[in-house]
């Protein structure tokens, strides 16, 4: 770009519009907010009235007690992510938003599975647990409760493997995420 006064030709045809493009992939937004009552309502309310659909949501403290971290995932095929983040930024209690790129972020989910495990199935379930480095945290005659952490995909895979044994109940947290390396968010 030239200095003022230069008369470079800028053909209007060269201009391209950016924004409001749907990326088509999953996005993990890491949002730092002031730890105040009602902040989560403001965020979920914003999503509801703008027609944005949250896939998963996790809220927890950070190293600073005045600040909470909200990690939420949403589908970039359905939403213009730039519009979502811009609207979030307008909330006074929102301090920082980071759209975590998959390759630069570590994301984990925690899940608890209660699986039928009587008789012959039990040892097979335990083998699967070992492969997934899952922990058995409760056992009785009929079932085991297994704790698994890992990526969303790993937990999906685990679920697929134990389901045939009889999945009695399942609880999952939704992903939390953090950027790799030395950055702060």
């Amino acid at each position: 770009m030239g200095e003022p006064g230069t008369k470079e030709i800028l053909s209007l045809d060269e201009l391209e519009a950016a924004g409001s493009l749907r990326t088509g992939r999953k996005h993990v937004l890491s949002i730092l907010v002031e730890n105040k009552p009602g902040v989560l309502t403001r965020i979920t309310g914003l999503f509801a009235r703008r027609g944005f659909n949250i896939d998963t949501l996790a809220v927890g403290p950070t190293d600073d007690e005045a600040v909470s971290r909200i990690t939420l995932t949403l589908d970039g095929a359905l939403h213009p992510i730039d519009q979502v983040t811009k609207q979030l930024h307008k909330l006074v209690n929102v301090l920082k938003i980071r759209d975590l790129e998959p390759e630069e972020a570590l994301a984990r989910e925690l899940a608890l599975f209660k699986v039928s495990a009587d008789g012959s199935g039990r040892s097979e379930v335990m083998q699967i647990c070992e492969i997934f480095r899952a922990k058995i945290v409760d056992v009785n005659k009929r079932s085991v409760v297994v704790e698994v952490t890992g990526t969303h995909d790993k937990i999906e895979a685990f679920e697929g493997l134990v389901r045939p044994f009889g999945l009695i109940e399942m609880a999952r947290t939704g992903e939390i995420a953090i950027a790799r390396g030395r950055t702060e968010t």
């Binding site: 006064g5 008369k7 470079e8 800028l10 209007l12 519009a17 009602g38 519009q83 930024h89 909330l91």
Partner: protein
């Protein structure tokens, strides 16, 4: 010091001259503090009237308006003005009383979840949870309301907390880490915009309410005049560019001029300044300005590329950006002759499609004639508020606004009943100016009660009711799109507005003869105190031209 007395100190520190409100149980402590605080309080008859008055005050003066209501119904009555202020970016602080903290969540008497109810329609809100929070929250509320893209802020104060004793120290700094509006436009983007503009052959400046909010009207005129650029305004921006200017195309959008809409349709470059591509502007989005590239200047980044993707976005304050854009543009010394063809095309439209109507030959008053008569009677020099409907559009079309903050209407939310209380607020803010309200006979009845407030306080607004005995805009749509099946739009001839005005202690007049209409209006304007003038007009007149909802500029009718 009681927290409410600290609240008064905060209001004074913010330069508050006047508040509009109505007391109740939950804000009794606040009203006790008003008793000797030395801040003018105007007792309204309905909280909605107070809220709109605060909006009118803010729009006329550019200062932050303040509106008060009690808990429960007081607060819910404020919902419409809060939403209105949100849609039109009006800086108003709403102070609501709340039940005592021990009653919160118990469905106590006059309890409503004010923060919850208003959450989607505020720029921000505060629920006070400790009396010590009050001073800082008040200052933060004013800061948020007036800065960046202005808007409404609600502060909800439980009754017991407002009575508590607190040590009061003036708050001099407001620091909100999550709220840092960008005001400085990006230098590179501004330079790029100047280049694009210098190379455009069919440019249009499409300006919105943001130009007025940022105080950039003169900057706009300078850019337009230097660049010989055509200008159109949204209904929110009328007055941002003088209507008498030869580069003025008129308002754009659903009831805009053909020239403005056709120019948008054929433009190769549209510079949107403080405007948000509302559906009343774009019509059918896929056919909106199909040949144009867009420069979008707005202080709210979320507006950029929300409805129409921008090619050159510039986030910031128009008052900061426009002078720099003009300078960059000048530096390129673009050839003004490149616009000759474009101006010839525009002049052609202007000649072929001026705003026009079929006038009567007898004494009957056409609504358009009424607006021109009022323009003449006021010498074009008045603050004009309006309600919502046909009269609003005719006022926007036929009253030529010379400068900003002269036209005050409810554009985004389209709130009937806005005009009269807004005029009241504008008059309080600008006591030396003539303030008239152009009202509809339907709309005016929605906040008629504030005429009593005007009489009591000596607020000399002049209300001109364009009386066609219909909910006129709805009737027009039923005529055009619903096979003339006039369902629930006939208001008949009630009430008798002259008698009603007198009952409220105002002067009532009726002007029903075209001859002498201007003189009669002048008489009304010269009459002391509030005046309500009933002007019966042609009953079934339509507002034209018109882009039917969801259609394109090329589909204009009438």
């Amino acid at each position: 010091m009681r927290a409410v007395d600290a609240l008064m100190e905060c209001l004074k520190a913010e330069g508050v001259e006047v508040v509009f409100g109505l007391p109740g149980g939950a804000n009794l402590p606040t009203y006790d503090a008003f008793y000797d605080a030395g801040i003018r309080h105007i007792l309204v008859r309905h909280e909605a009237g107070g809220g709109h008055a605060a909006e009118g005050y803010a729009k006329a003066t550019g200062k932050v308006g303040v509106s008060l209501g009690t808990s429960g119904p007081g607060a819910t009555n404020l919902v419409t003005p809060i939403c209105d202020a949100m849609m039109d970016s009006v800086p108003v602080v709403f102070l609501t009383g709340q039940v005592r903290t021990e009653l919160l969540g118990t469905d106590g008497f006059q309890e409503a979840d004010t923060i919850g109810i208003t959450m989607p329609i505020v720029k921000h809100s505060f629920l006070i949870q400790h009396p010590l929070e009050i001073p800082r929250s008040i200052h933060e509320a004013f800061h948020i309301a007036r800065s960046g893209r202005p808007g409404p802020v609600v502060v909800d104060i439980p009754q017991d907390l407002s009575r508590a004793d607190i040590p009061y120290e003036p708050v001099t700094d407001v620091h909100l880490p999550g709220y840092q509006p960008t005001t400085d436009g990006n230098r590179k983007q501004i330079r790029l915009a100047a280049k694009a503009l210098a190379n455009a052959r069919r440019p249009v400046l499409y300006t919105g309410g943001g130009v007025i909010a940022s105080g950039a009207a003169e900057d706009l005129t300078e850019l337009a005049t230097y660049g010989r650029l055509p200008v159109t305004c949204t209904v929110m921006a009328l007055g941002a560019f003088p209507a008498s200017h030869e580069q003025w195309l008129g308002m754009l959008g659903m009831h805009g001029t053909r020239t403005a809409n056709y120019a948008m349709d054929e433009a190769d470059l549209i510079v949107a300044i403080g405007a948000r591509f509302d559906d009343r502007i774009t019509g059918k989005l896929s056919e909106f300005a199909p040949r144009a590239k867009f420069i979008h200047i707005d202080i709210d980044p979320a507006e950029i590329s929300k409805n129409v993707p921008a090619h050159i976005p510039i986030v910031g304050d128009a008052h900061n950006i426009l002078p720099r854009l003009t300078a960059e543009y000048r530096a390129l010394s673009p050839d003004p002759k490149r616009l000759d063809e474009w101006w010839a095309r525009i002049r052609g439209w202007q000649q072929r499609y001026p705003l026009s109507y079929q006038d009567t030959t007898d004494s009957e008053i056409k609504p358009q004639y009424m607006i021109r008569a009022l323009y003449e009677a006021t010498g074009g020099d008045a603050i004009v508020t309006s309600d919502v409907g046909q009269h609003q559009m005719w006022a926007a079309q036929y009253y030529d606004f010379p400068k900003p903050r002269r036209w005050i209407n409810s554009g985004g939310l389209g709130t009937m009943g806005f005009g009269l209380p807004a005029a009241m607020g504008a008059k309080v803010g600008c006591p030396d100016q003539t303030v008239v309200c152009i009202a509809g006979d339907g709309s005016v009845q929605m906040n008629m009660q504030e005429l009593a407030t005007c009489s009591q306080e000596g607020i000399a607004i002049k209300v001109f009711i364009m009386n066609n005995g219909y909910l006129g805009m709805v009737r027009q749509w039923q005529e055009l799109f619903w096979d003339k099946r006039y369902s629930q739009v006939d208001m008949g001839q009630w009430p008798d507005f002259v008698k009603l005005a007198e009952a409220y202690g105002a002067t009532g007049m009726r002007l029903s003869d075209k001859k002498g209409l201007v003189e009669g209006m002048k008489e009304a304007l010269a009459t002391e105190g509030p005046v309500l003038v009933d002007v019966p007009v042609t009953r079934e007149e339509n507002t034209y031209p018109m882009i039917p909802a969801g259609q394109a500029a090329r589909d204009m009718v009438g």
